[in-house]
């Protein structure tokens, strides 16, 4: 999926936002509209028309400006984010010349050239950054924790409950459905990016608004404990209380996880959300062997602690991974469960390995505290228990034979094209050349 969609998705889910998507053509716009309407929102996606003539004439900016004015005047949304995708960002429209406000509406440029955004996660970071950058410097009085990152709807409530026990609270949570969710960030005392990819936005908020940030999330046994004590330390709250609350929550997680022992199982995780770090944490703590975490997130300072934790427990992190890397890794170990991207899961299913798509199955669940851990592990167990079903179907389509799980048969190291040629899916140029003398 286009990395820029991570941003469009969160902007389109804001009820008082009316995003304009400057697409790179109808192919691009069709794709974004398609997935937006499937996953995100039952509402229109607006875009100025693009064509070579429009770009050549240079009339795009005038069209866009007129569109912005018309939408702001007619609908008065809180914000009109201008999502600039590959072509418009390459052409370089003078976005600075757009009005900053029209009436009560903020007009905010969100740069999303997919060729440099690379991942959904980065696009989400850009949204938080673009929106908060519009806000003035930090107010004087501050209180509470700003949660950053998509979580299960009940997670902020649960986090708030725990934070109150140690003497603070949740101030706001983004990405949220309202512009005020973002505006309220300047009231907070600390940012808590719950996923490690909000590195740019928290860095810039530190710079502009002087907001400090705390890494990690209350996920798993160690994670829950570390996060609670970390917040207390960063906010200079009562250490004794924090220690007792952190211990209590850690024991609850431990007890909940004990119901789902994963000892002896080997799992592979590949994701592009950023939370895959947290998931692997849970799996390892539950006893599973996870030799390999593939993430399309690029290496960044916020992930370093997580990475070190994982590395200590035998899990190698591959940043900026692609399909071929993942398929390659698939054959390194006899996996019992694969939690990954769509092409990887399709491949694993062909091999008869139970597998689920990270985004649809995992990203929508809570992972936090005891309830979250139990919920996630239950899903993983359930998936593993369906092994016979996956195996049977794989054998059926392999005409009764056990599908061969070798690197050469299923996943050529070179690239997808070679793989397709090897499977007669496409005719290679070499094969099409008639042999001499035939």
């Amino acid at each position: 999926m286009c990395p820029a969609f991570g941003a469009i998705r969160n902007l389109l889910r804001m009820e008082d936002s009316m995003p304009i998507v400057i697409s790179s053509g109808d192919g691009c716009l069709y794709g974004h509209t398609f997935v937006a309407h499937f996953y995100v929102a039952n509402r229109p996606v607006f875009s100025p028309g693009v064509s070579s003539e429009i770009w050549a004439k240079g009339s795009m900016f005038d069209e866009l400006k007129a569109m912005v004015h018309q939408m702001a005047e007619e609908h008065q949304p809180s914000i009109i984010p201008i999502c600039s995708l590959c072509v418009s960002d390459t052409v370089g429209l003078p976005f600075d010349l757009l009005p900053k406000q029209i009436g009560n509406t903020e007009i905010i440029y969100v740069p999303l050239p997919a060729y440099s955004v690379h991942t959904h996660a980065r696009a989400k970071d850009i949204v938080v950054d673009s929106l908060t950058w519009r806000l003035p410097a930090q107010r004087k009085a501050r209180s509470g924790v700003n949660l950053i990152g998509e979580v299960f709807p009940s997670d902020p409530i649960k986090i708030d409950e725990v934070l109150r026990k140690i003497g603070t609270h949740v101030n706001t949570h983004v990405p949220g459905p309202k512009w005020t969710d973002y505006v309220a960030m300047v009231d907070g005392a600390i940012n808590a990016p719950l996923h490690p990819f909000y590195s740019e936005s928290v860095k810039r908020m530190k710079m502009k608004q002087g907001l400090p940030f705390i890494e990690g999330a209350p996920v798993g046994i160690d994670g829950t404990y570390t996060w609670i004590t970390g917040v207390a330390e960063a906010m200079k709250l009562d250490a004794k209380t924090a220690l007792s609350v952190a211990t209590e929550e850690r024991e609850k997680v431990k007890a909940a996880m004990a119901d789902y022992p994963l000892q002896g199982l080997t799992m592979m995780v590949a994701g592009y959300e950023g939370h895959e770090f947290l998931l692997v944490r849970l799996l390892i703590e539950a006893g599973a062997k996870v030799p390999y975490l593939s993430t399309s997130v690029n290496t960044n300072p916020l992930a370093r602690v997580e990475e070190a934790w994982l590395a200590e427990r035998g899990c190698k992190v591959l940043y900026g991974a692609n399909f071929d890397d993942e398929i390659g890794a698939l054959t390194d170990h006899p996996y019992d469960v694969v939690i990954g991207t769509t092409p990887l899961c399709a491949h694993a299913k062909e091999l008869g390995i139970p597998s689920i798509y990270y985004t649809n199955a995992l990203a929508t669940r809570s992972m936090m505290f005891a309830e979250g851990a139990a919920d996630i592990l239950q899903l993983v167990m359930q998936t593993y228990r369906a092994k016979d079903r996956y195996d049977k179907i794989a054998r059926f389509f392999a005409d009764g034979a056990k599908p061969v799980q070798t690197y050469s048969a299923w996943a050529p190291k070179i690239d997808l094209t070679t793989h397709l040629i090897a499977n007669d899916a496409i005719v290679s140029h070499d094969a099409a050349v008639p042999k001499a003398g035939v």
């Binding site: 509402r43 809180s78 949740v170 512009w179 199955a361």
Partner: protein
Amino acid sequence: MAITPPRTRASSELQSDVINTPIRKRVTDLDHAGGDTGAMQVFASLGDANVVLDGPVGCHVMPAVAVINYTDCIPYLQNVTCSELSETEVTIAGTLGALKEKVARSQVEGRQVFIVSTPVSELIGASWTTMEAHIKGSALFFDSHSLDDDEWKSRDRALLFLWEHRDHFVRPADVAPHPAKTKPRVNIIGPTYGNFNSYSDIAELKRLIAGIGAEINLIYPFESKAYDTPHLSDADATIVMYEEYGKSIAREIGLPTFSGPIGLEATTEFLEGLGKTLGLEAEVAAFISHEKKTTLAAWQDIWRSTHSDFFANSPIAIVAPPTYKDGLTKYLGDELGLPIVYSAYRTGPESTPSEEVRIALRELSPSPMMVFGSINERMILAQEKMPTRFSQCSFPGAVVRRATGTPFMGYAGAVWLLQLVCEILFDTLFANLPTSASPPVKATMPTAQLMTSASDAEAGAKGRNSVLSWTDEAKALTEKTLKRVPFFVRVSVNKKLRAEAESLARERGTDVDLAVIEEVTARYAPGR
């Protein structure tokens, strides 16, 4: 000259020899028709039959005009009529006079007349012994046990009756003889009129049989004539399409018998079994292999896609006659892995009363994502305001299934059902998308003013946008409500519910308490 029918009841393989339906003191929303309807639907399916129902006008127009228009999309059955009994016949004259006249008019050249008893004629004791002396020609009388047998048992008996009378039917001189055998041959027993989805299923079975290099002997009674009946024994195997009827005649024909297969595994077993019986093992293996690359390529693609990831968390319920309850349980439950959280037979001696089904469905937590059933279950879902999607897999209930591309049986059926399940998933997803703010919510003030209006934040208290506290009662009720929501869309519903509750609590300046949640959940019907 009419032939005297056997005086003993035709024996049946179905559960009870006498009564196929449990004797109930109270019935709510019935799941089956009576014996007269079942028998009529069998006889009328024969291309050369005229059926005379010995009963009042309702016994004719209800099944053969009103209902058939929605089960089979046929305006009315042209080869069915009735004796139109009135007070005179019922109280004084008996049915004979009226019947005689109708039978005489129905006995046209080349048509076989079947007289079927109805509750009224059975009650007033219309006697075949008297009739046989008065009714000329070749008409056959079938005692449908309409007060006691349900439509399925009656279909079973009617088919057996046809086989027992096979020598009675005369092949007209101008009709070509039954075609000579060129390949191994297969009979298909069923469908008749009034069978759910039969047009597609018969098309798929034909495709499979042709695919393995066999040929159809007879599709009986639907695509046959009465005079074809003796040729049922010219086949090498018999497929009984439905569990509900047809086994008795198949047993008497005496050939190896197979059931209509629902699901990937059932179809493979079915084909391999047929191959062994017909000596077509190699052809069957080649056909299955070819199917994997053609018809089933769609199946494998969907299975490998993310669509199938949702199955384990998409509970379903099935309320249907055995063919569909057992077939769908095996395929959707065992093979695809959709949890079957409730299932019940609706027909035959084990039929579950509708009131029991209602209570069971209502109490399910979470609510199933979809229910396969009849209109009875559809009504329950609507009345109980359940967030559950419905798909029809049996009658009663108006549905159009005449295009032949929607089979439940065979490999094509496996693909179609898989597609159907995915479509229902998407439909559920769409109905629960978290945002539908169009036009967007209007801004009430400029951002600068928003910033300064947060005076409470200045004082170091909770900011205006803080997460609100929820009381334990409020959390408990929310959890209870959410548990009813199918898991697949629980996140979206949770988001909506939380947003509504918190906005109400903010308006009131309270925590999210029980009163708030009660108000929100009361006006809240997920999926609407």
